[in-house]
């Protein structure tokens, strides 16, 4: 097994989940509680990676961070090397690609929080930000874990975006899914099978965690 690829993949997935937890929470909060009439525009943008082919998304990200774009030029001036085909570039792409997998469960969980509880907190003199951390986050814990875990699992399995933005650089951007593809190309089915099984086991384990978290009653039959 290619342990370097496995290490890169888990590092990428963990960082993506971590960043999305920080970036996704305010976006989800805004999507849930904003009364702006055009908010569906932002909602659609957030959901776009769900339907867009990874190659298309990867292509636009590549162009956006490439040396011909202002963002890409700014980054290479700052850091000294361009963003595409680096781990950082891949991380950025993964964050955008997994955004809906984090934001949507977060927003769904916030939606479930009774507004009257939030209002009661405000009347007790607790600010909106403090209410978020003292009340909304504990009540949405299952949704937050779901979002973090789903974005982690989704990043583990990404392929198209990695190829477009990250390329296939050993130790830097070669992830497990690309390693499997390479093994199959080289007709090394045994190697591919081992890595594929690992990915399957991890993905299944992660989903087990999500469904267990969201299960409210541990009973054979719904009982009150």
């Amino acid at each position: 097994m290619n342990w370097t690829a496995i290490w890169v993949t888990f590092k990428l997935a963990s960082l993506t989940s971590g960043v999305l937890l920080v970036v996704g929470l305010p976006i989800a909060y805004w999507l849930t509680f904003s009364k702006w009439r055009w908010k569906f525009i932002v909602e659609s943008v957030v959901a776009l990676p769900l339907v867009l082919p990874p190659t298309v998304l990867g292509f636009y990200i590549l162009v956006a961070i490439g040396p011909h774009s202002p963002v890409g030029r700014f980054y290479s001036d700052l850091v000294g090397h361009p963003l595409p085909f680096t781990f950082e570039g891949l991380l950025l792409a993964s964050i955008l690609y997994s955004l809906p997998f984090a934001v949507q469960p977060f927003a769904a969980a916030f939606e479930q929080v009774d507004r009257r509880l939030i209002e009661a907190s405000w009347t007790l003199g607790v600010s909106k930000v403090a209410t978020f951390f003292k009340l909304i986050v504990p009540l949405s814990m299952a949704g937050l874990v779901t979002g973090a875990v789903l974005s982690f699992a989704h990043t583990l399995g990404e392929f198209g975006v990695v190829l477009m933005v990250g390329g296939n650089i050993e130790g830097e951007t070669r992830t497990v899914s690309i390693d499997i593809y390479d093994e199959v190309q080289a007709l090394n089915y045994a190697g591919a099978a081992k890595t594929a099984l690992l990915l399957l086991a991890v993905s299944y384990g992660v989903l087990l965690l999500v469904y267990a978290m969201n299960r409210k009653v541990w009973a054979v039959w719904p009982q009150k």
């Binding site: 009257r116 907190s121 009347t123």
Partner: protein, 363 residues
Amino acid sequence: MAAEVTIDMTKTFSGRAPIQAHLRYEIKASTVLILFGPSGSGKTTILRSVAGLEWPEEGRIQFLSRTWLDTKSGIRVSPQDRQIGYMPQDYALFPTYSVAGNIAYGLGALASEDRNKRVAEVVELFQLQGLEAAKPRELSGGQQQRVALARAVAPRPQLLLLDEPLSALDAPTRLQLRGELRSLLKQLALPSIIVTHDWSEALTLGDVMAVMGRGLVHQVGKPHEVFSRPANAEVARIVGVETVVQGEVIEQADGLSTVTVNGTKLKGLSSNAIGAPVYVCIRAEDVVVEPSGSGMTSARNHLLGRVTDIAPQGVMVQVTIDCGFLLTATITRGAVEDLCLVSGSSVIAAIKAGAVHLVPRSG
């Protein structure tokens, strides 16, 4: 400047009549304003606007010298900065916090020793000892109500806002807590605004009462005065109790209390102690008018009186009878003709004891 509350606002929800309130009343230490009306009359919206949870598109809300809302000069004070205690209808206790956690929730500004001290104080005041660690879902309805009130009171608010504080409880608990709430409000010496649609709550708890219907404030005054002297037919219809007079319990036997009202004795159902001052409340449709000198009926109260006024109201007629106090009866036109009722006629008003409601009042 007098200690006053001014609520002057217009709030529109699409598809409904706009809610308009123009009311101003003076407050002393523990003045309780009752917002009274049927559901959908806009009373909760007014309470929420005072809390800062609803933003009227136009108006001014002023509490003592502080302006909380003035759409003309763009003042909008957030609910956090109003120093209010607010208790919504279903209490909205925080499910992830214990009883003590709920009470301590609004005390974040205090140092932890002071906070613990205040929580202990409030727990004792609301008789919640032993329940500090319990989660809200483990509590009975009455306990939840007390915790919600304790949480609202703990940060020492300037004004207490209660939305239907007793309506989520079953009838016996409601009756018990009604009395407790009244003595508590007096003890806290805290002005409050209470929303209710229950006239006995309005009479027991209120010092000032605003009657609302279809988004408008129809009448503001002392509760018993509003009940006995409604400003117009709309108010009379909303309050639904035509006779409210002051009386005193003089005797109790077999679950029945005897009260005197201006020398007239009446029997009613209640558990008030002897000597307790009460409001005697009788709905006009519960009064049967009989010719004087008729025989016994099952009704416990037979009051000899004289008709002072006969006022037709649609198919019914409202008859006012002076039997030591003024009693209103609603009867049909046919009954008026059969009994040959005219102003001055001598009649007997019969009322079942169960229809004589005795509501405690402060002496």
